[in-house]
Structures are given as C-alpha cells and as structure tokens.
C-alpha cells in the first residue's frame, strides 16, 4: 500500500467536473479529503491523501496532470525553520497527526513532513513562528472568502 499526501491546484475550467469520482472509480485509489476549497469560476485547491497500489496512484496522478491540475507533494510545501525552532514542544500537543512529535529518549522535538496534513494549527501556536506553509496566495484568498 502506497500513501502520499498531495497539494492539488485545479484550473478554473475543471470545477464543474466530477474529477474525484473518476479518481476513485477508474483508478482505484482511496481518497481522503483533508482540505478543499472549490468555488465556481475560481481556481480550486485541495489537499488529498491518496492511498492505493503504487501503479494506481501514479496513474491517478497522470490523469490529473492531463487535466492541467497542478500537483505537488504537500511535504514540499511545509517546512520547519530549524534556526528559529528551539524544540520547546508546544506544537506537539496540538498536531492532530503526530507529524510534530517528541522523541521521548532525549525529548527532541521532531517534524515529519510526510505525515503533515497541512491543517496549519501549528503555524500560530509556535511561539517563534518556525512552521512555514506555503500553500499559495490563492489558498489564503479562498480562506478569507470562506470565512466571510
């Protein structure tokens, strides 16, 4: 079983198409929607966890690429500034998936970007703002629209 979390950018003209349905039905991948912002006539963004046979996940990604969907591993979009982080551990209490966790033997505070689902809770909780999520300006704009 192959599991990866991706950050997808859907072009405007795809928002009226049942893309995720095709992903599941034709490519036999399990789709876990972690975050989605889809608005008519706007670029949509989604964070999805894809799970399945490696070939199927690859084929699913190729299908999306063919539709002009921007694809990136979420892990490449989240990072911890190691200079700023002083390993206090405040983030470990709120990270829902233990992407930020304490190695108990030496109390080191570690970050595993592959586990991160991009929920962003750590960003403001971190007292030195060491967590960075570059999910794009569009994402933030969508966020403010949905919050209104």
């Amino acid at each position: 079983m192959y599991t990866r979390i991706y950050f997808f950018r859907f072009p405007k003209d795809t928002c009226d198409r049942p893309i995720i349905y095709h992903l599941i039905k034709e490519h036999e991948v399990e789709v876990n929607i972690l975050r989605a912002d889809i608005l008519p006539e706007r670029e949509g963004v989604m964070i999805l966890e894809l799970k399945g046979a490696k070939n199927n996940v690859r084929a699913a990604l190729a299908y999306l690429e063919g539709l002009g969907v921007g694809i990136e591993r979420l892990a490449t979009r989240v990072r911890r500034d190691e200079q700023r982080c002083f390993e206090c551990g405040a983030c470990t209490g709120i990270c829902p998936v233990q992407a930020l966790y304490v190695r108990r033997e030496d109390m080191a505070v570690l970050f595993d970007p592959d586990k991160c689902t991009g929920c962003g809770q750590c960003v403001l909780i971190c007292p030195v703002r060491a967590m960075e999520m570059s999910l794009g300006k569009e994402w933030l704009q969508l966020e403010s629209v949905t919050m209104d």
């Binding site: 390993e87 206090c88 551990g89 405040a90 709120i94 304490v102 030496d106 403001l124 703002r129």
Partner: protein, 387 residues
C-alpha cells in the same frame, strides 16, 4: 568522613583542569549508582540549564546623544514603546511590550507578531533597529525629537536585566472550562483535553539547589549564550512554598533576577516570542553551575524527574479568578512521558520549556569550566530561604 569543599578549592581544580564537572542529568545517574557520599567526593560541579519563555525580561539601553541633545520622554524602538522615565537617553525595553500598532486581542486570538522580545533578538542578530524619541525640551536638552537607526554595536550600553527568571517549578496548566483558552501556558483545549507544563525538571537551576545554599547575589551564570550574574532574588520569590520530603517545592517557589551584557549574548539563546492570544515574551537560555560543597548538595543535584512534582492548575476559570485550587500532583517523569492521568482520564502533555536546549546549556557550562574559561563566583549573599 563527610566531604566539605570550598569555592576556592573547586576553582583551583577548574584552573588546573582537574575539576570533575557533570550535568544535572548525569548527576542523577551518578547518585543513584554510587550513592550520595561517593558522588559528593567525586563531583565538584553540577551544571544546570533551562530555555523557556520568561516574561519578566527586558533590557536597559543607553542609545547615545544627538545634537542638540535630548531628554527623551517617549521612546519607541521599531515601533515598540520603551520606558522614558529615566535619564536623558536611558531606557528600559520590556520583552512583553507589543508594537504600538499591534491589533492586540481585537482580532481574537491576537497574533502579537512583534514586540520587545523581538527587538532584543533583532539587536543580537546585528540588525538595524529604528529608534524614535520625543521630548518636551529643556534649556540643557533642547531637542524635541530624535530618529536614528542603530545596531547593537552602535549602542553605548545594553544590559539584559530580567527581574524574574528561572522559576523554581511551575504549574501544569489545563482548561476545565468548555471553551478554548489562549494563555501564557499556550493554547488549552476545553474539558481538559491537553496539559502544558514549563520547567526543565531535573535540569532546572533552582531545582538543583532547592534551599538556595549556593545561589545568591553574585553567582556567575550562563545567560543568553554569554556570561551573566544573579543580582537579586526575583520578584515573587517565594521560598515558603510547600515542599516534598526531599526539599523540592511542589509549586512555583524561588525566582532569580539576572543581568548580563547584551553585547556578548547570542540570538541562539535569546528569542522573541509571539504567544497566540496572550502577547509577546522572550525565551531566555540560562544555566547555573552548582558547586557540590557537601553531601547535601550532592543529594540535591542528584534528584531526578521522578522525584520532582508539580500541581495541576485550571487556566479555564481558576487562574484568572485567583482561585487557588489544584487538581492533582504529577511528576516531571510523568509529564515528560507525554501523557498524564487527571481524574482517571489520560491527557496529552506538551512542554513550553525546551529539554534539548536546557541540556545543551548545561553541557556548554560544563565545557567552559573544563576549558578553564569559566569559574564559580561565591555569592555575596544567598537568596532568602524558607522561614
């Protein structure tokens, strides 16, 4: 025969490279394996450390004159207000002061992106800060305003001066209310779903000298990556807090006031903080060498996380209403395991104090003494003890 050592003897051994120096973590194992008697004989100094938010921090700064001269009465550094009620170009910049245009908690929970602590960190990073001052003007200080960009090197004088640091023990914070709270102890989820604590436990300076037998005015310490001194007992110093049989306080007790020349410190060990919904602060790295003068000090420095306890306190309702109630006692060994039990329920713990950095401070102090570049300084007067 019981062991007795003096500061002079230990310093002489540091000078000749023969002193035996261990960290407070190492001392726990030594005392457990070899006993107090043997440890007192063998070990000369135990080094401690802590690196955590310490709100009662700030810097005295002299920013130099301009022509015509000024008696600054209102001062801002990078838009952060600093105190103007001192002599002409002296000021005190507090770590928790937010930038004047910060929206504070108007948009709740406030982000507090920049404050006094960040100014201190920027100075340490060698960045230029923008200083503005206003004055009413006098015959001897005619200028009414002043604006200049300055770096730490440009400042004639910069002294980190923290009226309360190094709390001997601190609360374990939970939230028993039904809504989320944003506190100086971090974000606390409703209905006791997480617990935050803030102490280096067995590595923490005052935990290793519970009755202040070696720490006092003049104790030389690691402060912010450089050398500093304990200059008084800190504000809220409370030696009469309840203690366990081993003498270690079970709730917040002793504190220290510390000072050191900012110019020899490093941004690795002094960091400006933005605590969501609460405000700005400063993470301060400090470490104190504890001389093992006798068996009592060997025993004290040998206490482990499983022998050090703190109280569970509710920050959802009790704390802000001055209700002094505890919801149980937990050891730092339990807190550091990641889960504690409160009223039969497992609760996730998180620390606001960095064990990794505390250990590194203790190791740095140890290295300085092994190299013969740091010596103990006997206090002129010890911190007030219980009584």
């Amino acid at each position: 025969m019981t062991t007795k050592k003096t500061y002079e003897e230990i310093n002489a051994r540091i000078k000749s490279g023969q002193a035996v120096i261990v960290t407070a973590e190492e001392m726990v194992t030594i005392v457990r394996e070899q006993g107090v008697k043997e440890a007192a004989k063998k070990i000369d100094v135990v080094t401690t450390g802590t690196f955590a938010p310490m709100c009662s921090s700030g810097a005295f700064i002299n920013f130099g004159q301009c022509v015509p001269t000024i008696k600054a009465s209102k001062i801002w550094i990078n838009k952060v207000p600093a105190y103007g009620g001192l002599a002409a170009v002296d000021t005190y910049l507090g770590a928790t002061e937010p930038a004047e245009d910060d929206p504070l908690n108007k948009v709740y929970p406030g982000e507090f992106k920049y404050g006094g602590g960040h100014v201190i960190e920027d100075l340490l990073k060698g960045k230029k800060v923008f200083l503005e001052a206003k004055a009413y003007g006098t015959d001897c200080y005619a200028a009414r305003k002043m604006k200049k960009e300055m770096t730490l090197d440009d400042l004639p004088h910069a002294l980190l001066c923290n009226p309360r640091n190094g709390y001997q023990n601190y609360n374990c914070a939970v939230n028993l209310s039904d809504k989320v709270v944003y506190t100086y102890m971090g974000m606390l989820k409703p209905n006791c779903r997480n617990a935050n604590y803030c102490s280096a436990g067995e590595l923490s300076p005052l935990m290793n000298d519970p009755y202040y037998k070696t720490i006092g005015i003049g104790t030389r310490i690691f402060l912010g990556g450089g050398v500093g001194y304990v200059t008084w007992h800190g504000t809220q110093h409370n030696p009469n807090a309840p203690r366990t049989e081993n003498g270690i306080p079970r709730r917040p007790a002793g504190t220290i006031m510390v000072q050191g020349d900012l110019k020899q410190m490093s941004p690795d060990w002094i960091k400006g903080l933005s605590i969501l919904g609460y405000g700005n602060s400063l993470a301060v790295g400090l470490g104190i060498p504890i001389p093992v003068l006798d068996e009592e000090m060997a025993a004290a420095t040998g206490r482990g996380d499983d022998e050090i306890y703190t109280q569970i306190v509710d920050y959802g309702n009790d704390y802000t209403n001055g209700i002094n109630k505890t919801y149980g006692e937990v050891s730092y060994a339990e807190l550091k395991s990641g889960t504690i039990t409160i009223a039969g329920k497992a609760v996730t713990t998180a620390s606001l104090s960095s064990t990794v950095k505390a250990r590194k401070i203790a190791e740095t102090l140890k290295k300085w003494m092994q190299e013969g570049s740091f010596f103990l300084h006997e206090p002129a007067s010890l911190l007030p003890g219980p009584g």
